[in-house]
């Protein structure tokens, strides 16, 4: 059904437009000029090579965090711990970047791998608790977010002796001179390739492999999975570990790409939580996650330009507007439903 395809593509677009309209109304009511506001949003995303580079930089960890949430969700798990797994991944990546001396071809993959493993280990805890003892993963992952935050803070202070570590070695950095040149020295880095690669691999695992088949079966129906001889607890652990690995990679993007150091934090980064929104926007599908991350990352970064004159829209208002746009997209299924209802009614006559 070609028509149905078209509709399912059209609906998110329609939702974005509607979100923008409602956002405009809010700006108007509050006494700001929506045209100027949106122009600045647009310029904040596409205005010059620098912001374009920064937008891509922002999108990169969102892809991985969204992918982490979506992957766990396919197995029926709600990984709210992406945030904590990302924090330990970030720390681990910087640690490898600082303490080892190797050529770049080894240093970068090694640092990324260790970051992934750190995230995986952090996710293994709620995974094994769920699988063996039936402990709800939501509670455990939330608590582990705070443990991750404070443990890494303590380690940073302990190792660096201050609130920020040194810069990682050149050989561990994801920076790509070519990107720097074409984007007026933005912080855009090579991590975007890693994120895209992860999307392809995860897509492959879910669609084409035995492992993906099992994980999905367990997510849909544990009883039938058991009947079919699958090891349900093991699949739960595997799912969490892979999800945590992806979250750890998202941390590596920050540690080896964007910042190249790690500092103590007073609160969580938010990327992990926003990964949930990205997964929802992407309907928990790997490819969908890319689009979700692009939308979320672009709005997030582009809106930084809105408080500047002449628009001078306060950042709180921007948060509201972004939330509304996300809300409309996320409730796109509502539009789908309305559409179906409407077309059915017509069919009767």
């Amino acid at each position: 059904m070609n028509k149905k395809r078209l509709i399912s593509l059209l609906i998110p677009v329609l939702a974005i437009v509607l979100g923008l309209i409602v956002g405009a109304i809010i700006m108007m009511v509050s006494g700001y000029d929506p045209v100027v506001g949106y122009t600045q949003l647009w310029e904040g995303i596409f205005g010059d090579p620098y912001v374009m580079g920064e937008t891509v930089r922002q999108i990169t960890p969102y892809i991985l965090a969204g992918l982490a949430v979506a992957f766990a969700f396919k197995t029926g798990l709600f990984n709210i711990g992406v945030e904590g797994q990302l924090i330990v991944g970030w720390f681990a990546a910087v640690w490898v970047g600082l303490s080892f001396d190797m050529p770049a071809v080894l240093h970068i993959p090694f640092a990324i791998l260790v970051a992934g493993l750190a995230g995986a280990l952090w996710a293994f805890i709620p995974g094994i608790l769920k699988a063996r003892l039936g402990v709800n993963e939501v509670v455990v992952t939330i608590m582990l977010n705070y443990v991750a935050l404070h443990v890494t803070n303590a380690l940073i202070r302990g190792i660096a002796g201050k609130d920020t570590t040194d810069r990682i070695a050149e050989t561990a950095s994801l920076r790509i001179p070519f990107f720097e040149e074409i984007t007026m020295y933005s912080r855009m880095h090579g991590g975007i390739f890693i994120a895209i690669l992860a999307v392809i691999i995860i897509y492959f695992i879910l669609q084409k492999t035995k492992l993906g088949y099992e994980l999905k079966a367990v997510g849909f129906n544990q009883d039938a999975s058991k009947y079919a001889g699958m090891n349900v607890p093991r699949n739960i652990v595997i799912s969490m570990v892979i999800s945590g690995f992806l979250a750890g990679l998202a941390g590596a993007m920050e540690g080896l790409g964007t910042f190249e150091y790690v500092a103590t934090k007073t609160s969580t980064t938010g990327i992990g939580f926003e990964g949930i929104a990205v997964a929802v926007l992407g309907a928990n599908h790997p490819i969908g996650v890319v689009f979700g991350a692009i939308l979320f990352g672009a709005l997030k970064y582009g809106s930084l330009n809105m408080p500047n004159p002449p628009a001078q829209i306060p950042s709180e208002m921007i948060t509201i507007i972004i939330a509304i746009i996300i809300f409309f997209v996320a409730s796109a299924y509502l539009f789908q439903w309305l559409y179906e209802k409407f077309s059915k009614k017509k069919g009767v006559k």
């Binding site: 059904m1 084409k208 009947y227 079919a228 090891n231 009614k345 009767v348």
Partner: protein
């Protein structure tokens, strides 16, 4: 059609319903008289549930019109149906397990008093309704604690509570024990006495002959005929619905049993509450025979099967397959040792409903060649196998890529049966294999079971349908309170005798005397 005839409470005129490019209902007309029980008969996938979902507002028709008491209506959703006095008891119950009976019934229509739900008043009203129709439901019981038959009565009460006077029953007897079935039949009679009208979907011709006034037969989405039940007979109905003659009794040559395939010794299995449901049970199933297990539901059948297949731990005793000990082996190991299992609850164990037909066909073998190679699935092989089974087992589906959820109940069952028989296991365990299947499909499944037997395999059949056990089995083992209390030859046993055994009474074969009272649940079933 004289649509304005007030004699009819419901008129579905020339209803058409299309899914994609598949016509599920093609110009069907169904008229329900006030106070009648009108049966709807058709093969699996004929479109019965679809037609009823249209009436209940779950689907919108693509053509035709619906009249309620002579007035044309548009039933855009189930709430509209409710307001028109139409209630539906679904094929698969829709209850919240952790809620009480009352909470389930009032869900979505909670009586409020100053903004607060008035449970007590509702419970009182439910109690009264229950008494009026002889339903015997405890409004405060938890749904998870009550039997399937009781849950169904809760569904009935739900519709009555919402003021329905037209009730749709979609295969209400498929999940019930013989005892519960005869009770349900009484309830339905009571309902029409009190002025309700009923549409009844069932595959059991016996039930139609017993309770229905008229019957409408549909075949492959088309309305075939509406008849008075008193003017017809099961044979005619069966051939109308299938489109050919159907043989009711299964033809088979005498069994030629050889060495035992399955031997169970002193097996003890507990249920989740810790009660010993299987209690030092001994049983042998031999190569080349079909052993039927007869018994009232809840006497350990489920636990026995789950223990054999590795889904539940055995406390003590041994289970041997071809002489090899398989006690407490993992399900995968059991499967690979040569056990096929058609589970009792197809939605819970047998299928992943969100998976496609093809993915479900591969559910037991996805990890092996040719379906999987070095961890990568071979979709081409999986779906070509699926096409093969669709063809062989006459699974009515739009394609092998359709999610199992979109298939009719009977066709879902055929996926499982095809999958398990295809693996050609040494021991095939079939629990309620024909539940919800039409007579044509039942005939087909029985043939396949006998074919397995004739090929030198062992078949363990568990069924609550006495007819089925009597017809298909070579030996019948009667299970009572977790033990096999007798093994009988179906050719030398009557349904009455079997019924008594199932109630736990030993028959003294010599003078054919029976001890104990004659209050057996299955006596009503036997004709």
């Amino acid at each position: 059609m004289g649509g304005t005839d007030v004699e009819y409470v419901i008129e579905m005129l020339n209803i058409t319903k299309v899914f994609g490019n598949f016509v599920a209902n093609d110009n069907i007309t169904l008229q329900l008289k006030k106070g009648e029980i009108h049966a709807l008969l058709g093969e699996n996938g004929a479109g019965k549930s679809t037609l009823m979902n249209v009436l209940f507002g779950l689907y919108q028709p693509d053509g035709g019109e619906i009249r309620v008491k002579g007035k044309r209506v548009e039933i855009s959703d189930p709430n509209v149906a409710n307001d028109l006095g139409i209630g539906m008891v679904h094929q698969h119950f829709m209850l919240v397990d952790t809620f009480s009976v009352t909470e389930n019934i009032i869900l979505g229509k909670e009586p409020t008093k100053g903004g607060r739900i008035n449970i007590k008043e509702a419970a009182e009203e439910i109690k009264q309704l229950s008494n009026l129709y002889g339903l015997d439901v405890d409004p405060y019981a938890m749904v998870e604690d009550i039997s399937v038959g009781m849950q169904q009565r809760v569904e009935i009460l739900k519709t009555l509570y919402r003021g329905a006077d037209i009730l749709i029953f979609d295969e209400p007897t498929a999940a019930l024990t013989p005892q519960e079935i005869s009770e349900l039949i009484e309830i339905m009679k009571r309902l029409v006495q009190e002025g309700k009208s009923i549409i009844l979907i069932t595959h059991k011709l016996k039930e139609i002959m017993e309770v229905a006034d008229r019957v409408t037969v549909i075949r492959r989405g088309k309305g075939i005929k509406t008849l008075n039940v008193s003017d017809t007979n099961p044979t005619e109905l069966a051939s109308l619905m299938v489109g050919r003659d159907v043989v009711f009794t299964t033809e088979k040559t005498p069994a030629n049993p050889k060495e035992p395939v399955l031997s169970i010794n002193d097996l003890v299995v507990k249920d989740y509450r810790g009660t010993e449901k299987v209690n030092k049970l001994n049983l042998e199933v031999r190569r080349g025979e079909i052993l039927g297990i007869a018994g009232v539901d809840g006497n350990g059948q489920t636990e026995l099967i789950e223990a054999i297949t590795g889904l539940r731990r055995s406390e003590s005793g041994t289970i041997k397959l071809n002489g090899k000990d398989i006690t407490n082996m993992r399900p995968r190991k059991v499967t690979e040792s040569g056990v096929g299992h058609i589970p009792q609850d197809r939605h819970r164990h047998g299928l992943v409903l969100n998976f496609t037909v093809g993915e479900n066909v591969a559910l037991q073998t996805y990890y092996k060649k040719p379906f999987s190679n070095m961890g990568v699935l071979n979709h081409k092989e999986i779906y070509s196998k699926a096409r093969e089974l669709i063809e062989q087992y006459d699974i009515r589906t739009q394609s092998e890529y359709t999610p199992a959820r979109a298939l009719s109940g009977g066709n879902q069952q055929k996926i499982i049966i095809g999958r398990e028989i295809e693996r050609d296991p040494d021991l095939l365990i079939a629990a309620q294999p024909t539940r919800g299947l039409d007579v044509g499909a039942i005939e087909f499944i029985h043939k396949r079971l006998i074919e397995q037997r004739d090929n030198g395999k062992a078949v363990l059949l568990v069924s609550f349908e006495l007819d089925e056990v009597m017809d298909v089995s070579d030996r019948i083992a009667v299970i009572f309170e977790g033990q096999i209390i007798d093994i009988v030859d179906p050719k030398e046993t009557t349904e009455e005798e079997l019924g008594l055994l199932m109630a736990g009474q030993k028959i003294n074969k010599k003078n054919n005397e029976v001890d104990g009272d004659k209050n057996s649940p299955s006596m009503k079933e036997g004709e």
